[in-house]
Amino acid sequence: MSEREPLFSSKNMKLLRDPLNDSNPITVQVLGICSALAVTVKLENSVVMTMSVIAVMAVSNVVISLLRKTIPPRIRIIVQLTIIATMVILVDEILQAFAYEVSKQLSVFVGLIITNCIIMGRLEAFALANKPWPAFLDGIGNAAGYGVIMIIVAFFRELLGSGTIWGFPVFEKIGLYDVGYVNNGMMILPPMALITVGIIIWVQRSRNKELIEDN
């Protein structure tokens, strides 16, 4: 038996760190775009959404990893779905109990975490072939990578679209409306979320040339 790997070995930390930048689920793998467009109108919503995704992803990654030797390959997708769905229902119930307003605004999108391509993707690609601890880190890392983009997009959309940050009227307090400023209504519309994500991808790729595909 080989020597035990330390809990935070560099290989394990890489699982946590990479999805935040070089293999970000949204900007590099282009997964999970749907909810990034839908719930990023307000910062609060997207933070709650991010936390829900982190919870669902970490737990289901661990569970699948524990069961990886007992799940028959032919029915693995349905088993994964069942586990994700259970987690999503739990998260939804918790949100409704403790953050009712937010859960009403997120409405159907909490339920739709089930279909979030990132989660299924990581279960298939990572958790099914790895031990629970790396799977846990991978889940946290990918969900956080998703969350970082969500929060950046939501920050700009809320600031420019409604003039607020976390509901606090920033532009009104510094008196921007008095000099003729008007909120940008397009920021509230989904197309602008897509464009914002596009700009983030642009910035990221011009900083890291390795991400640019040759064609």
């Binding site: 003729g180 008007v182 209504g185 397009m186 464009i195």
Partner: protein, 396 residues
Amino acid sequence: MNSIRRFVDKIKPNFEKGGKFPFLLSTFEAFETFLFVPNIVTKKGSHIRDAMDMKRTMIVVVIALVPALMFGMWNGGYQNSLALGIERTLLENFWFGFLRIFPILVVSYVVGLGTEFIFAQIRNHEVAEGYLVSGILIPMVLPIDTPLWMVAVATIFAVVIGKEVFGGVGMNILNPALTARAFLFFAYPTYMSGDFVWIKGLMKGEGIVDGFSGATALGQAAINEPLLNTSGNTMSGMDMFMGTIPGSIGETSTIAILIGAIFLIYTGVGSWKIIFSVFAGGAAMGLLLNLFGGNALMEIPFWQHLMLGGFAFGAVFMATDPVSASQTDRGKWIYGFLIGVLAIIIRVLNPAFPEGVMLAILLMNVFAPLIDHYVIEAHIKRRLKRAKVSTNANSI
């Protein structure tokens, strides 16, 4: 002239490699080639010499836009004088409009060219001349009361998101000027539609003549009211043709736009196929809707549809943009015809978007490469078929 040449030659070393400001080379070159014909010649291969390079093409379009712009300036003053009940002479009206529109032009050019220069510097490109036309088109499709900072924001959006992300001039999928307008339309709807934005002074609501309405013809038709002009009489076909109606700066006067169209077609810069087929498509769809009737918008005679709103302006100056339009001859007919049809459909059947021309052109911009693809495929198939027939004939 010679003194300018000498001055340019004198400061040139500063911008070349090893000079003081090598990073400003593309800026310098832009100004030099603006002033003088470049002295660089193609070294190998055959090539055609023609006086119509990019800059001359652009200048032709700008000249073609001048009648509509001049009229827009006069109309800006004229509509204001009607609204506030002031008597003004022709020149006073023009001057009033000029004072409002000139700042918009300046902002559009300064901000747009500034953005282009910055990108050219970062990427070490030459500064492309594409913005010369967009810079005059953007103000002409805006209401006269648009705040200047909105013009600036929209211009940056159009140049960066509409053009630079695709690789700069010549690579854009969408028409930049319409991108700017679409951005403003969705971002600041209260400043881009409604009854008050088309005439200077209405936003503040001061001293308006009794019973006066600043709504555009399409705005009135959308709420099922009879078409009235700004003085309260029925809007006649002549009003629409001359352009003495409220609307965006450059779009109201069909006759001024037609003068520009003739100039564009005569110089060969604008495609008559596109212009003609847009009008044909609009007329066909208008006629069809006339047959059904039903509400005020559907009952506008089809020939008036072609003169209202931005239809003529879009057909002549926007749809013909050589970069975003179809490239093949057959494609141009399809592209233009569909713009006409779609513009009237959106305008009439979806009153929330009275300015259907903008959306129709942007939509067809997206489809133009697809149209070209199928036109070329069909062409290849036809030729192949002919080739096969002839080889068969030979074998017999």
